[in-house]
């Protein structure tokens, strides 16, 4: 069932699948990046442990700048560092950066074309008990709309590490979205990763629907596919870790193959991955689509899984949307 060329974690569907926080992968990746490239610098707004930038800060104290609780300053100082040749990673919670400092990111990083990497940790409703004030569910939309901005949402810790290393090299303003809690390890060190290239995790000649997911929802999409198979419904599952630039070649190919699409993301239904896919397909090869995401509401306190289930992001919701979209195929 799993695409062998992806070299995924073979224990993926085990009950005791290994779990790690996606942010942990960023911490490891940034420390590696610091070793490989001495132009990499880190900036943090009083959240170095939470964002996992502390590993980099300890390894390279000269190249770490503690900005304090000041997210506007965080990204604008990063812009200045980039303009003199540094490769800055600026980390905070997604709710505050890019939540609070959008105009600074627009003007001093994107409009100004400086290759700053905005790292938004604790993104999505899956942040859990902190509640609605801390659950960034609009950040993909905010960053995706900015010309030049690259938007990356890793699906697991391993992918977050690879994404971090890739962003050191991409010479573009970029947004890296990280989730707080432990989530299943889907990929391995052998799995392919290239910015802007989606990965087909499950494929089938008989696939009736393509499920496109990102971030923590990739695992739930895979679980839904597994359940659907037992019901005789075959689907293709794609991990679109780079929402911008979107892998339009792959999306178009799969739209033509399966003629129906379900998108799944821990983000508002509006403006995120689903919108990106829909905007592209409506102009090229329109097929019935179901978009799974938050339905124009804020979250609340609760356990991550409990919240995802309550707000329409359950495995059952993906299954239901898949069945629904099949009925809409002409």
């Amino acid at each position: 069932m799993l695409n062998p060329s992806q070299k995924l974690n073979s224990a993926l569907f085990d009950l005791q699948v290994k779990q790690e926080a996606i942010r942990d992968g960023f911490g490891v990746g940034l420390e590696m990046a610091g070793l490989i490239n001495n132009q990499v610098v880190g900036l943090c707004a009083d959240l170095s442990e939470s964002t996992r930038m502390n590993k980099f800060a300890e390894a390279f104290p000269d190249r770490f700048f503690q900005i304090g609780v000041a997210e506007q300053n965080l990204v604008t100082v990063a812009s200045g560092l980039a303009s003199v040749g540094k490769i800055p990673f600026a980390a905070s919670y997604a709710m505050f950066s890019p939540g609070r400092n959008w105009e600074q990111i627009r003007t001093t990083i994107c409009y100004n074309d400086q290759p700053v990497k905005i790292v938004g940790a604790h993104a999505g409703i899956s942040v859990g008990p902190d509640g609605g004030t801390h659950q960034a569910t609009e950040d993909i939309a905010l960053m995706r709309v900015l010309p030049r901005m690259v938007v990356v949402v890793p699906a697991d810790s391993e992918e977050a590490k690879k994404a971090t290393l890739a962003l050191v090299e991409n010479q573009a303003p970029s947004y890296l979205r990280l989730a707080r809690n432990k989530s299943p390890i889907i990929t391995t060190s052998e799995s392919p990763f290239e910015l802007g290239k989606g990965n087909v995790l499950i494929e089938s000649d008989q696939a009736e629907v393509t499920i496109i997911a990102c971030g923590v929802m990739v695992y739930r999409a895979l679980m839904a596919a597994k359940q659907l198979k037992t019901e005789g419904i075959m689907v293709t599952v794609v991990n679109i870790h780079t929402i911008k630039p979107l892998d339009t070649e792959l999306v178009l190919k799969l739209a033509k193959q399966t003629k129906a699409i379900v998108t799944v993301e821990d983000h508002q239904q509006m403006g995120g991955l689903g919108s990106a896919v829909a905007e592209f397909l409506v102009a090229t090869y329109p097929v019935p689509m179901e978009l799974i995401g938050l339905k124009d509401v804020y979250g609340q306190s609760g356990e991550p899984d409990e919240l995802l289930d309550y707000y329409g992001l359950a495995i059952d919701d993906i299954i239901e949307a898949t069945k629904k979209v099949i009925t809409r195929k002409s």
Binding site: F65, V84, Q104, T107, T108
Partner: protein, 289 residues
């Protein structure tokens, strides 16, 4: 520091007068834009570009250059006029200000005009960018680096929270290679800064954030030159030069009138202004002015 004497002072004064004329001419052509701030900052811009900055107008990417960040991008007519006079681009191009396709965007766009260090307009973010540059230089060159970053700010933009986040950080980092200049002209769009949002005691504010403060008359070249010399000499602290300027300086009809903050002179007003500048306020009688 370069040598400074009466001849150089006269040369700077002459250039500042010329820059003010170029500002007026470009604003007449543009039909929109800001007048008071550019006229008020002409003396400081001329001093920076012709006496202070380590730069090469013919080699804008020269790695060893100082950096100048204009935070309040709306006073760009004076930046453009000074850069043109310094040889960055032809003076004739000033007449394209704010036109479609022009390199002289309504607010500065780094990518469009070589020689600009950043794009700016939205207020309050320039000091932070200058701090980033200064930190980068310190990282590469050490604490004694003499590669300076000059951040030019308006007084109105001190109302932005982002500015004070930056002021805090520069004090914490003891950034000796950062020199900020505040255009303390006392006006902003809606009126006088003292009415819109009082800033005094401004000098005390910066001192309490661990900055070295120098207050000067922003139209006195001796003062300006001396302040930059002092600023470069201070070690272990960022320096702010609070330059008291007269908005609209050089055109008595425009001076200290906040309504000239965000509008250009019309053709008639512009011609009268040019006459004032070209005749040194009527001291030179000449039919061809």
């Amino acid at each position: 520091m370069k040598p400074y004497n009466d001849d150089i002072k006269l040369d700077l004064e002459t250039k500042a007068n010329l820059v003010r004329q170029l500002v007026i001419e470009s604003l007449i052509e543009a039909g929109s834009g800001h007048t008071a701030g550019p006229l008020g900052m002409a003396d400081i811009f001329v001093t920076l570009y012709f006496h202070i900055l380590n730069h090469r107008p013919s080699e804008t990417t020269w790695a060893l250059r100082d950096r100048l960040v204009l935070s309040n991008g709306h006073i760009c007519p004076v930046l453009y006029a000074t850069m043109a006079l310094a040889g960055y681009f032809p003076i004739s191009e000033l007449k394209t200000l704010r036109r479609f396709g022009s390199r002289l965007q309504g607010h500065p766009h780094r990518e469009w005009l070589p020689g600009l260090e950043t794009s700016s307009g939205p207020l309050g973010s320039g000091l932070s960018q200058a701090i980033g540059m200064a930190l980068g230089f310190r990282l590469d060159l050490g604490e004694n680096t003499e590669r300076y970053v000059y951040a030019l700010l308006s007084d109105g933009e001190l109302e932005e929270g982002n500015t004070w986040e930056a002021v805090l950080l520069a004090g914490k980092e003891r950034l000796s290679n950062l020199i900020a200049v505040i255009d303390r002209n006392g006006i902003q769009i809606d009126g006088f800064t003292k009415d819109v949002m009082p800033l005094e005691p401004l000098s005390d504010k910066f001192e309490s954030f661990n900055w070295h403060v120098i207050e000067i008359d922003g139209h006195n070249f001796d003062d300006i030159i001396d302040a930059f010399g002092q600023a470069q000499a201070v070690f272990g602290r960022p320096v702010v030069i609070i330059a008291h300027t007269i908005p609209g300086k050089g055109i008595p009809e425009f001076e200290r009138d906040y309504t000239w903050h965000g509008k250009p002179p019309n053709l008639k007003e512009g011609k009268q202004a040019l006459e004032k500048l070209r005749s040194l306020q009527g001291r030179i009688k000449n039919d061809y002015l």
